[in-house]
Symmetry: C2
Subunit: 534 residues, 2 copies
């Protein structure tokens, strides 16, 4: 394959860019009354409107041509087929199998029986906890669940539990702790009753520093309250059951996942246990079904009509041809307020690479900065920059037609703002009298409308973005499924940690790091001091 930026499709796009910079979004709409119909896609209750983007039929044709040239079809086949496309770790990547139906072979062995067996165990356990038949010591019903994990073991389950809370139907309250900062754990545990709190510890390796430290502290909190039976309230989700057992978790409370489940794709596995506890296993299975529907769409739809492919190619278009450095995610739905943080990990950990899967350097930019916040809040924060700043920030606006409440006026105001913003960004107000009141307009966006936020549509939404990220990685030729960039900091932290156990000045690092450590040592509280803050 030729180098990406010297490939025929790329050069054609570069050429085509010169045409497109001379037309505005407003002109594109004027020139084509059918533009919305042609440049929007539907799947079940979901509408993706990508007509407010700097593209025409030629653009789409050239972009999908690029995808073909970079072997997207082959890579998709490998993804769904259990190929070891995570080549640096020599692993298959099978989150689609977690929500799949058909036999999927890894090295000739079908993974589906294990997947189904684990779902069955999750079903029994979650319904037992929810109906009280699995009870805490003394027969009480579990009132609370504390989920301890970080990164991929945290963001997905937390997002899902928050987003789908209208489906809780009396299930236990679920809390999430990730940060090693004890303040986070203390804040969470303070109002809880240890006697009725179930604790889930999630770590693929069961060695993650933050998770294990938090798990030890929670185990101690339980022990102080209920003695040695504390371990009976522990659950583990891990690919390393032996370590979990050594930690004290009983075997029937250890749920497996597998090396072909990446952390940031793990909420579909037993890592999603808190979701099942929060909304019930039927809801969890609906979420899987929704994701599977998006998998089928991604697998089957022609690239031009393929939601994840279109979103990915638009990302490439702005990133590599218009120097957009960031992409905003703007859910107009409080339930999806954690989505930007989830997508930040999904996208940036997958695409924040400078080396291709084959070890050669990438040419041009890869992953963008993914950021955002819920609307309408964000309108009162950073929208000033989106409308009148100097930077191109393509954005996804997401909203839901049917809320779970009956406050019509609230929802109408929310939706009016949702519609108004993409229109205002596109059309602007370039002719206002005062230069301060002028809006250049011509700022692109996607709009995603869901009929209703259900476990099913939520599953679709997440799978949409998972596949978007995958398609971008294929274009850039990078491995989306490893994260070698987190290792150096981890190693160095392990080296620094013992140096913090005394008050002697350090000299083993650069002068800045030495200076910072020494300042800390000189100013940290004496270990014995425990009085309350003033």
């Amino acid at each position: 394959m030729t180098t990406l930026t010297e490939s025929p499709a790329w050069l054609a796009l570069k050429n085509h860019r010169q045409t497109m910079v001379h037309s505005s979004l407003a002109q594109l709409f004027e020139g084509d009354p059918q533009r919305f119909q042609r440049l929007s896609l539907r799947l079940d209750g979901m509408l993706l409107d990508y007509s407010k983007n700097w593209l025409n039929d030629d653009t789409l044709h050239l972009l999908t041509g690029l995808a073909r040239e970079r072997g997207l079809g082959t890579q998709m086949h490998a993804l769904f087929g259990g190929g070891r496309i995570n080549n640096t770790e020599n692993r298959a990547v099978l989150h689609t199998a977690l929500r799949g139906e058909r036999a999927t072979l890894v090295d000739g062995v079908d993974v589906m029986p294990e997947v189904r067996a684990t779902l069955e165990r999750m079903q029994l356990f979650s319904s037992g906890i929810r109906d009280g038949s699995i009870s805490a010591q003394g027969g009480s019903r579990y009132s609370d669940v504390v989920h301890i994990g970080i990164g991929g073991s945290h963001l997905g389950p937390m997002l899902a539990t928050h987003a789908l809370s209208p489906y809780a139907d009396g299930g236990p309250r679920v809390h999430f702790v990730s940060n090693i900062d004890m303040a986070a754990l203390q804040r969470t545990l303070a109002p809880l009753n240890p006697a009725t709190t179930l604790v889930i510890v999630v770590s693929k390796t069961f060695t993650t520093s933050e998770t294990l430290a938090n798990a030890r502290s929670v185990r101690e909190w339980l022990s102080n309250a209920i003695g040695k039976d504390a371990v009976l309230q522990l659950v583990a989700v891990t690919a390393n059951p032996q370590r979990a057992a050594e930690f004290g978790v009983s075997e029937d409370r250890i749920f497996p996942f597998w090396d072909w489940v990446g952390g940031r794709y793990s909420l579909w596995s037993a890592v999603g246990l808190p979701i099942a506890l929060a909304i019930g296993m039927d809801g969890f299975r609906d979420m899987l079904r929704g994701a599977h529907a998006m998998d089928r769409h991604f697998h089957d739809a022609p690239f031009e009509k393929n939601m994840p492919v279109v979103l990915a190619l638009l990302g490439i278009w702005y990133n590599n041809f218009f120097d957009a450095a960031s992409h905003a995610v703007l859910p107009y739905d409080e339930s999806l307020s954690l989505l930007p943080a989830f997508l930040q990990q999904l996208d940036m950990e997958s695409c924040g690479k400078s080396v291709r899967a084959d070890g050669s350097a990438v040419d041009g930019e890869t992953g963008m900065i993914i950021w955002g916040a819920a609307g309408t809040d964000a309108q009162h924060s950073f929208f000033q920059l989106l409308h009148q700043g100097t930077r191109l920030v393509p954005a996804d606006f997401i909203a839901v037609c049917q809320p779970h409440h009956t406050a019509e006026q609230h929802h109408a105001i929310l939706m009016a703002n949702f519609f108004a913003q993409t229109a205002a960004l596109m059309n602007g107000a370039p002719l206002a009298d005062s230069p301060h009141d002028r809006f250049p307009g011509n700022r692109p966006s996607n709009s995603l409308l869901l009929e209703r936020l259900t476990p099913y549509s939520f599953g679709q939404l997440l799978a949409l973005y998972e596949h978007k990220v995958f398609v971008q990685s294929v274009i850039w030729g990078i491995n989306a499924f490893d994260q070698p960039g987190v290792e150096l900091g981890k190693r160095l932290a392990s080296r620094i940690l013992p140096d913090l156990h005394n008050n002697a000045p350090v000299s083993g690092y650069d002068a800045s790091t030495n200076g910072l450590i020494d300042f800390y040592k000189a100013h940290r509280e004496a270990p014995a001091r425990t009085e309350r803050p003033q």
Copy 2:
């Protein structure tokens, strides 16, 4: 004044850039054993280490020269002196007076008596609520406070209340609602007892659409529970007391602020009332004192030794001379987890402008995308991109030497990671065997270490960033204190809202917006449908 990018200082910096790109951070440290000592600043218990940046003495000299050339001294004088530097709105900008001590004249009238009188009222009210002498109907102590505001009336008070929660000392629980999405309000109110809930409504104009809709819904929630006495549990903070009175708030429960207090600088005014309720007025006054200490530092210190000036000039350096499009804020402290969202508003609403204060177009880029999340969580999310991605993302790392807890091992792990990350970003691992394990290094960062997170140091921290933003705006020649970019979307939303009150297709907008609205109308729940989610 010459155009910014044609000014002598700018051209000199452009020239100087050519030298700097040939030296790495590692080389800069090798060449200067005193680099950390020279390129770090202290104020009270705060250390700012900016030595891990692409600069040497010449850079600093040229950057401060630019600041002088752009009239920073004059602008600072105008800021502190009550000049109408918010020229588009013809307003003075006096958040520094809110935490000041000396007479400050606006049009010849000293604002300080009003400031002090309002602080005194906050003192009486917050201590009354906290000690129970101001009680709810029936004499009960107020257990909860719901603060309703959005944007500047929301982010600051929420951040402060979260960050300073170790100082609550038995005060009421304080909750924040901003989003118009009813789901947010419902989630907040569900566990609360209306009979013991105090409600604060904050809006400068008392016309903010989201805030008033939420206020009406909360007033209804109160009325349904306690009847017409509901209004006695309402408090307003506003520059429009008449409207607050019309809403039903009794006069002695209306706290003023003034047109010279910008929304994003308003937590120092009565908008900070929930902070005073949460931690007590002594704590609130400590916060003011800390901010005032930073004001004095900013006012007095030479530019080369001035924390806000140095941070701002580094921002200009990366933004305008190295094309950095975004800046990450990374607090290694769970208590500061809301800081990135706060700074996002502070910085992007202030600096996201394309027009100078004088109405001419800016030349070059202005405000960056401000984003981030708490460490160590973020290490398991987007740090992959920071270490191995293709983009320059300068970052502020913030940590606290003395936690409010006694879990030493947790804090040691947290701090080891904090120290490790800036070292790893700078030094990298360029020679690893596998290209996937290579880290280019040479990635710049600032480190901010606070001795302890107190109301005082928290006040310092926020004032530091306020002034940083101001300095950047002066360099770019923009007005940091208006936000005309939020008006167009607001106007359009008001126009769209009535169109949502029937089910007829719309045709008054662009084809995409028409199509989105029609999809919504066709798919929204029939108003009568109220069953529970499936």
